[in-house]
Each structure stands twice: as structure tokens, then as C-alpha cells.
């Protein structure tokens, strides 16, 4: 698959958001029309299992199927939760039972609906994803573990920053706490184990490394990640129409900024002028 068009470019006060239109033809033709693996997780939700591994192709298949469900709404549909290799569908059982879908139980009705959707799935689904550039002030008080991460990998702090901010990361899923993105695509040259003793409170916006993963803490929480920097961007803000900045399928880049720019952007974010 390749990126074909840059649809529009929106530059907000604090971070760049770019929309990309992509086609995911290749994966779709091989994976459609195979029976879905569906299992219930409660009386009000089922999960579709798509595979056993983490891959970009799987993530695209899941985000596309998610889109289909949201477009051709199931009666009683409440919400969907995409994850690494699954998509879960939450519904109101009473409304599902009232529907004309074939089947006796909710699970039969919902499964039938999902199978139908799977069969009618077109091979070329246009999906729109975003490339979001997140400014990060690396090191110093905002990234107290940057030097440790550099020493562990026998490179300089400048090299850690360079490696971290030159990759493009893929949001595989949102989980753990509101707005937290599981990012794929970090170089193993900056991998670092979790801290032996977790910190009691990590400030919101902290950018950290744990093993082969990198991530951003959306809220102040305790945590054991190695902190290499901090972003002034609010990853989660319930006052926004869409509170979470990132969603599954988005791409993320980090941009190194100085402490003055960090403070300036932080003031603007606090004043609510970032969106």
C-alpha cells in the first residue's frame, strides 16, 4: 500500500495534523470472505479476532472493518473498540433482539450481521488517517532519564533524540488510560527496560520508553517508564469535542523543541487555544 494523496493540511496552534488518504487494496483482497472468528465477551459485546500477531496490515484491516460497522450501523450499536488483533462491538441487547436480523440470540443476530458485512466488504476501501507531529522537549527536568537511556545504549543523548524524533510511529490501539496510544515503530537502538522503582506521579505529557515501546502519558499517573522528554500537547482533554488526540490507525512523529518553545506552547495549550 502507499500514500496517494495528501488531502489537506491543518496546522493547529500546538501540533501539526495532516490528513492522508490511503488505499489498502492488497491486504483486503486476500483477507475478505473468510469466515470471521467471533466470540462474546459479555451479554452486551462480542469480539472479532483477526489474527495472532501485531502487524500494520492487520491494523488496517481492523480500522477498515471498524469504519464499515460505524457506517452501516447495527441496530442497538453503542460503540466499537479496536485493539492490536481484535475489534470489539458493544450493543444494547434489547435493541438487537428487536431487530429483524436472523438468529434467536443477540450473539447469533450480531454474528450474522458481522458476517454479512464481511462478505459485502469491498476490496478497495479508502481510509483516511492522520499524521500528527508532536513537539517534545527532550532531556533536562522534563526528561530526567534521557542520559540513562543514552548510557544503556552506549550512544549520546543527541543520538537518542535523533533516533526517537526521526521515526514515524503507527498507533496500533488506544488503551490503558484515556488517550494512551500504543505506538509501533521504535528503533531498538534506544530500547530501555522499565525503572526498577516506578515513580509515584509522572506529569501528563511525559514521553517515555519501556522496553521496545515508546509512549506518552496522557494523564498524571504513577509509572515505571524511562522518561526522555515531555510534550506540551494535551493527549486527552474532555473539554474537546473529540477528547483523545490520537486514534488507532494514526501516524505520529516527534519533533524536538527547546524549553522556551515548550513553555510557550504549554501556555497556549492551557489557555485552550490549541484546537
Amino acid at each position: 500500500m502507499g500514500y496517494l494523496t495528501f488531502k489537506y493540511r491543518k496546522i493547529s496552534g500546538v501540533c501539526h495534523i495532516q490528513s492522508i488518504v490511503s488505499f489498502v487494496e492488497a491486504e483486503m483482497t486476500t483477507s475478505t470472505h473468510m469466515a470471521l472468528s467471533i466470540y462474546p465477551i459479555s451479554e452486551k459485546a462480542v469480539t472479532i479476532a483477526f489474527g495472532d500477531s501485531i502487524s500494520e496490515a492487520l491494523m488496517h484491516r481492523i480500522t477498515n472493518f471498524d469504519k464499515l460497522i460505524l457506517e452501516r450501523s447495527l441496530p442497538g450499536l453503542q460503540t466499537t473498540v479496536p485493539a492490536y488483533n481484535t475489534l470489539s462491538i458493544f450493543f444494547d441487547p434489547l435493541q438487537v433482539l428487536k431487530s429483524n436480523l436472523p438468529g434467536k440470540t443477540c450473539r447469533e443476530k450480531v454474528s450474522h450481521y458481522l458476517e454479512q458485512l464481511n462478505e459485502t466488504e469491498t476490496t478497495a476501501i479508502k481510509s483516511e488517517s492522520q499524521l500528527i507531529t508532536i513537539p517534545v522537549c527532550y532531556g533536562g527536568a522534563l526528561g530526567p532519564d534521557l542520559e540513562d537511556v543514552a548510557a544503556l545504549n552506549k550512544i549520546t543523548t543527541g543520538e537518542v533524540i535523533n533516533v526517537h524524533s526521526s521515526a514515524t510511529y503507527l498507533v496500533h490501539m488506544i488503551g490503558f488510560v484515556p488517550g494512551f496510544a500504543y505506538l509501533g515503530g521504535m528503533s531498538e537502538t534506544i530500547a530501555a527496560p522499565r525503572k526498577a522503582t516506578p515513580r509515584a506521579a509522572i506529569p501528563a505529557g511525559s514521553v517515555g520508553i519501556a522496553g521496545m515501546q515508546t509512549g506518552i502519558y496522557p494523564l498524571q499517573t504513577p509509572g515505571g517508564w524511562q522518561l526522555i522528554g515531555q510534550t506540551p500537547v494535551k493527549l486527552f482533554d474532555p473539554a474537546r469535542p473529540v477528547p483523545a488526540l490520537l486514534k488507532a490507525g494514526d501516524r505520529v512523529q516527534f519533533k524536538s523543541i527547546g524549553v522556551n518553545e515548550f513553555k510557550d506552547l504549554q501556555n497556549r495549550a492551557d489557555a485552550g487555544t490549541d484546537n
Partner: protein, 340 residues
């Protein structure tokens, strides 16, 4: 259902003592699940719904969830409320207030919540519902991210909560029939479902998707042996003390959606039952899912309580759920009929 809405003066209470953990909750928030916002909502939906029905509320309005006794409220205006649940009894001048009934209470009255053995959470509904802003289509408090409910937090002394002022036709009729200068309630009562403290607590569960990852002996033990609710239990989840589960499949589970009622097996083989404020995704194998109809019972468990798990099928779980919904619908109709 009569959809006419009657405007009334705002009913208000002031929190004098807030108790252990008191929050405004409704039936929870599904809109935020894709953003990893916990569903939140009442821990015992059955009791919360009974309290709402008792005051004639048409929908699932926001209620206050109290944890055990300790809270003290001052009723600032004439008010129509109802309580249901466990863990606390409501008293006015050392007189216990009945649960599952509409209660007319005149302005200036002080209500005390005192510890009551059996159960953990008491719900206070008001005619018209407690008025807090909707965030992501829900009035529930999201404690982890500090939004929703009353200013995104647990109630504190000095907080003043108002009702919406939009009374259903039924609430208006109940209010008219009870309005006096003293505390007043009708003869009818909706029976609660709170289990007595001596009763053996049996929770019905359905086998989870990874139940086959554990050896037969462990799975047998899960359905036969008692588990004890640990002190490490809160609105996010309950740690259960009991036989450890042994894995036969050491495969790693990729994080996937979980939901309140999911029983996860952690790395050392111990069990965690996820509750209302749980994370939206988890990577621990799932041994079982609590039947939706038994989640209210779980919401009333206290640390130290012993519980047993009984296996049922998904079809049975769904049948029980539909049955309970019909029963609750019938309850509403019965109350409406009293005020024709």
C-alpha cells in the same frame, strides 16, 4: 409512558460530610471506550434503577453512589428522593428511612448515612435526576481522568447538588400525593435485591475466551472453591484471594477489549474481577465473565466476603438478562398504575 415534563423549583441537598467515596453516577459511558475512557457508572445498577423508579424517574437518571455510611446531607429545599442498595441506612432524627420508596422530605432536614452490615453501596435518586453536565453522553464521574459527575471528582463537604427540575408526570403525581410539612412516604415499596451478610454468595459466570489456557484442576477449583475479596478492591476491580490458576498455555495475550465483569488471571495465577472503573483493554487471559444480572451483587461485595462461582452458558446469561429487564419494566408499569 407520559412524556410531559413538569417544571419545578430546583430540589437541592448540601453535603455536610462526604463519607468514604461518594460520586455522581448514571448507567455509564460507552462513547469513550474507543479512547480508553472507562465505562464508569453505578456499581450496582439494579439498586440504582430501583431508586430511580421509586421517585418516578422515566429514564436512568444520575444518582449519588455512597460507599458505606458516614455521609451527612442537609436537604435545602422540599425534596422527593429514594434510596436503595446496601452498606448504609439513612436516618432522620434517629428514625430509619425505608429503601425502595419515594420519600418526601421537607427543607432543613438533616439525613445521616450510618453503616449497615451487608452490602457496600447505597444509591440516592432524586425526582428529575441529579443535574450535572453530560460529558461524552454520560453524567458518570470518571475518577481516573477527573471529569464527568460533580466537577470530575468525589463529593466533598460543602458541595451543593441540584436536581434537574424536569419532573416526569409520574414524579409530579408522587410528589403531589406526598407533599406535607413532615417526612412522608407511601405504603408501597419496591423490594431490593441486597443479599444478607450471612448468605453464601454465589456469582454466576460464563467461561472466558482463554479458559482453556489453564489446567483442568485449576478450572475445576475455580468453580468449586471459595474466593475471598481482598482489601485491594475498589471501583476499578477486586483482587480475589483463593486457589491460584496454573497455565498450560504460556502464550502471550495481546491487549484486547475487556469489560466490567471480566475475571482476569494475572501473572502469578491470582484473579482480578474488573469493575465499573476498569481499563478498557487488558492483556491477561480471561477465565470467566460474570453474568450481567449478577454484577449488582458484585457491586455490593465487601473486602472479606467469600464468594463461589457457578457456571452458566451464554444463552442462559442472555435469558436471565432479558428476564430481569422485563421484570424492571413491569415494576415501572406497576408504579404507574398506582397513580392513574
Amino acid at each position: 409512558m407520559n412524556s410531559k415534563i413538569y417544571k419545578t423549583g430546583q430540589m437541592r441537598v448540601r453535603i455536610i460530610k462526604s463519607g468514604l467515596l461518594s460520586t455522581v453516577q448514571d448507567m455509564g459511558r460507552t462513547a469513550g471506550l474507543p479512547m480508553a475512557v472507562p465505562v464508569s457508572g453505578v456499581m450496582d445498577a439494579y439498586s440504582a434503577r430501583i431508586a430511580n423508579k421509586a421517585v418516578g424517574n422515566a429514564g436512568e437518571d444520575a444518582v449519588i453512589e455512597f460507599t458505606y455510611g458516614g455521609a451527612v446531607l442537609e436537604v435545602e429545599t422540599d425534596i422527593l428522593i429514594a434510596c436503595a442498595g446496601g452498606g448504609a441506612r439513612l436516618e432522620i432524627d434517629k428514625q430509619m428511612l425505608p429503601s425502595g420508596k419515594p420519600l418526601f422530605i421537607p427543607a432543613g432536614t438533616i439525613i445521616n448515612l450510618l453503616n449497615k452490615p451487608g452490602g457496600c453501596r447505597t444509591y440516592l435518586a432524586v425526582a428529575g435526576g441529579w443535574n450535572v453536565p453530560d460529558v461524552l453522553d454520560s453524567k458518570s464521574t470518571c475518577l481516573v481522568a477527573g471529569f464527568g459527575g460533580f466537577e470530575g471528582r468525589a463529593l466533598q463537604p460543602g458541595d451543593v447538588l441540584s436536581a434537574s427540575g424536569n419532573l416526569s408526570a409520574l414524579s409530579q403525581k408522587i410528589l403531589n400525593s406526598l407533599k406535607r410539612t413532615v417526612v412522608n412516604c407511601p405504603k408501597w415499596q419496591i423490594p431490593g435485591r441486597d443479599a444478607s451478610s450471612s448468605e453464601r454468595k454465589i456469582i454466576r459466570v460464563i467461561r472466558g475466551h482463554e479458559s482453556g489456557w489453564f489446567d483442568e484442576q485449576s478450572v475445576g477449583g475455580f468453580f468449586a472453591e471459595p474466593y475471598k475479596l481482598s482489601l485491594k478492591s475498589n471501583r476499578m476491580g477486586y483482587h480475589l484471594e483463593g486457589p491460584l490458576m496454573a497455565r498450560i498455555n504460556k502464550q502471550e495475550l495481546l491487549s484486547t477489549a475487556v469489560t466490567p465483569g471480566t475475571i482476569q488471571v494475572t501473572g502469578n495465577g491470582s484473579l482480578v474481577l474488573l469493575m465499573a472503573d476498569c481499563q478498557t483493554t487488558g492483556g491477561y487471559p480471561r477465565i470467566a465473565q460474570v453474568a450481567a444480572v449478577d454484577m449488582p451483587l458484585c457491586g455490593q461485595l465487601q473486602p472479606g466476603d467469600e464468594l463461589y462461582f457457578n457456571e452458566i452458558s451464554w444463552n442462559e446469561a442472555e435469558r436471565l438478562y432479558i428476564e430481569q429487564e422485563k421484570h424492571l419494566h413491569q415494576l415501572s408499569a406497576t408504579i404507574e398504575n398506582k397513580y392513574l
